[in-house]
Amino acid sequence: MAHWFFDTPTIGSIIVFAVAISVFIAYFRMLRWIQSAPPDSRPEAETPKTDVEK
């Protein structure tokens, strides 16, 4: 059994950090993706349809 994996100090820390960092990167990229939405060239863009309107 891979008991050593759970038992060895620092491996736990690495797991915590690995999860935290990957989540952080995912969230950060999500924010960048929102930020990078191209602004309209025309000032009066067509109003988007909300879910309800569809």
């Binding site: 994996f5 759970f6 038992d7 060895t8 100090p9 620092t10 491996i11 736990g12 820390s13 690495i14 797991i15 915590v16 950090f17 999860v19 935290a20 989540v23 952080f24 969230y27 999500m30 924010l31 993706w33 929102i34 930020q35 939405a37 191209p38 602004p39 309209d40 863009a45 067509e46 109003t47 988007p48 909300t50 879910d51 309800v52 309107e53």
Partner: protein, 445 residues
């Protein structure tokens, strides 16, 4: 909808009012809370200086009020996210004015919960050790993993739906102090709010709202597993995970009621936070109360019917022993009072739900205490029943923690709007469209 209206609506004016003006009463509240918090801080420094002996803890009752607070605050943190996320995912329209408050409760309660672990440590200066020498076999590491993800998720979940409001404040609050204008500009990161950007924001919110539900469930489950993984009587129980989650959502909604009612009253949000919210959320609270009662019955009956020595001893300590008063406070606070108030339609009013929620918060704190302490007072090996009497240090730190929680909440909403303006506006549009949609559906029939 995409462009910000040039004139301030009534909603905007009301919501931004507390950001603009600070009445004397606000300072008084802050000063009062600050005083309580500082007392707690003083008690904490004293405890750090002298040792954990300043608490009422002993052998074998090694865990007490701090762990109770930890479980309680982490439970409260489910308010937000879970409620707001579930309501968002199910598109409950009435959620709109209260999601921001719920999300803020989540974030701050989580911080307070983590703080309790630090307060409880015998060597607080070694706080980083679990991040350096962490062993994954220890349930604490599971906690750090889940709470870490939850902390980031709830922060993002608070932040994302605030971006359009931040952009609006950047444009509107030109008379605000410089640091705040700088903050709004920074935090709205050049938001222009055109159709594409808004679509992306809604997609992101949709993803986070779904992701955060399993994360929240995992957090409270692993909190319960800190207890459940040991072999202590009435801790070592498979129901503990779901029981903690149910209790968390239950106390979370109660905390949401308390804060939203106070904010509504102080900042005059009556027009937006109204009967609909109180009725629907009140029903949800009632359902959670019933769920909690069911879980409690399942736990106590299963333990009580069998005759396992150690389990029975702890059960008797709770039902007929020294913890019986606390047990009945819990039952009355979590079941009797909420049911008496909330079953009736005219009980689900701001006043009714406020008092029902206060009773639940007391009841749920006691419930957490009854999980943590009694199991340890009945050691399995030869010791007499132990007594745990919390000390003044523990009381002061607990009061200080609650005060800090309220302070963070109040100061946050001094700088950021307590109601999500753009979402409520969107809701008004939806309201305007819906009758038409219904007519069309009828015509199609």
């Amino acid at each position: 909808m995409t462009s910000i209206p040039t004139r301030e609506s009534e909603l905007e004016r009301t919501v931004l009012e507390p950001l603009r003006r600070t009445p004397t009463g606000f300072y008084l509240v802050i000063a009062g809370l600050g005083l309580v918090m500082l007392t707690g801080v003083a008690a904490l420094f004293n405890q750090w200086y002298l040792g954990l002996g300043m608490t009422g803890l002993n052998r074998p009752v090694y865990w007490g009020i701090y762990l109770t607070n930890f479980v309680f605050f982490i439970g409260i943190s489910h308010a937000g996210t879970l409620i707001s996320a579930i309501l968002r995912v199910t598109q409950a329209e009435w959620r709109r004015p209260i999601t921001r408050i719920a999300e803020a409760i989540t974030f701050f309660a989580l911080i307070l919960g983590l703080l309790q672990i630090w307060i409880d440590m015998g060597r607080p200066e070694r706080i980083l050790f679990p991040f350096l020498f962490g062993r994954f076999q220890s349930p604490f590491l599971w906690d750090f993993t889940c709470v870490g993800v939850y902390l980031m998720s709830s922060m993002l979940y608070l932040y994302l739906p605030m971006i359009p409001d931040l952009a609006r404040m950047r444009d509107r609050m030109t008379d605000a102090p410089r640091w705040r204008r700088w903050l709004y500009t920074l935090m709205s990161f050049g938001w222009h709010g055109n159709a594409e950007q808004r679509r992306r924001l809604e997609v992101a919110i949709g993803i986070i709202a779904i992701v955060i539900i399993p994360v929240a469930v995992s957090v409270h489950t692993v909190v319960s597993w800190i207890f459940g993984m040991t072999m202590q009587p009435m801790w070592h129980s498979t129901i503990l995970g779901p029981y903690f989650v149910v209790g968390a959502i239950f106390s979370g909604i109660a905390m949401l009621f308390v804060f939203m009612t106070l904010v509504r009253r102080a900042w005059h949000f009556e027009k937006w936070i109204g009967p609909k919210q109180y009725n629907y959320l009140g029903l949800l609270l009632l359902v959670m109360s019933a769920f909690w009662g069911y879980f409690t019955l399942a736990e106590f009956l299963t333990t009580g019917y069998a005759t396992l020595t150690h389990e029975t001893e702890v059960l008797h300590a709770k039902l007929t022993g020294e913890y019986a008063p606390a047990f009945w406070i819990m039952v009355v606070g979590n079941l009797v009072i909420p049911f008496a108030i909330l079953v009736r339609r005219n009980g689900r009013t701001p006043v009714g739900t406020f008092f029902a929620s206060l009773s639940i918060l007391v009841g749920m704190w006691v419930e957490r205490f009854l999980i943590v302490a009694p199991s340890l007072t009945r050691p399995s090996l030869g010791l007499l029943p132990a007594v745990y009497t919390p000390s003044l240090t523990e009381v002061a730190i607990t009061a200080g923690s609650l005060a800090l929680f309220a302070l963070l909440f109040l100061l946050f909403f001094k700088v950021f709007p307590a109601i999500s303006v753009w979402e409520v506006e969107e809701g008004e549009e939806v309201d305007a469209i819906q009758p038409k949609a219904r007519e069309l559906a009828h015509a199609a029939d």
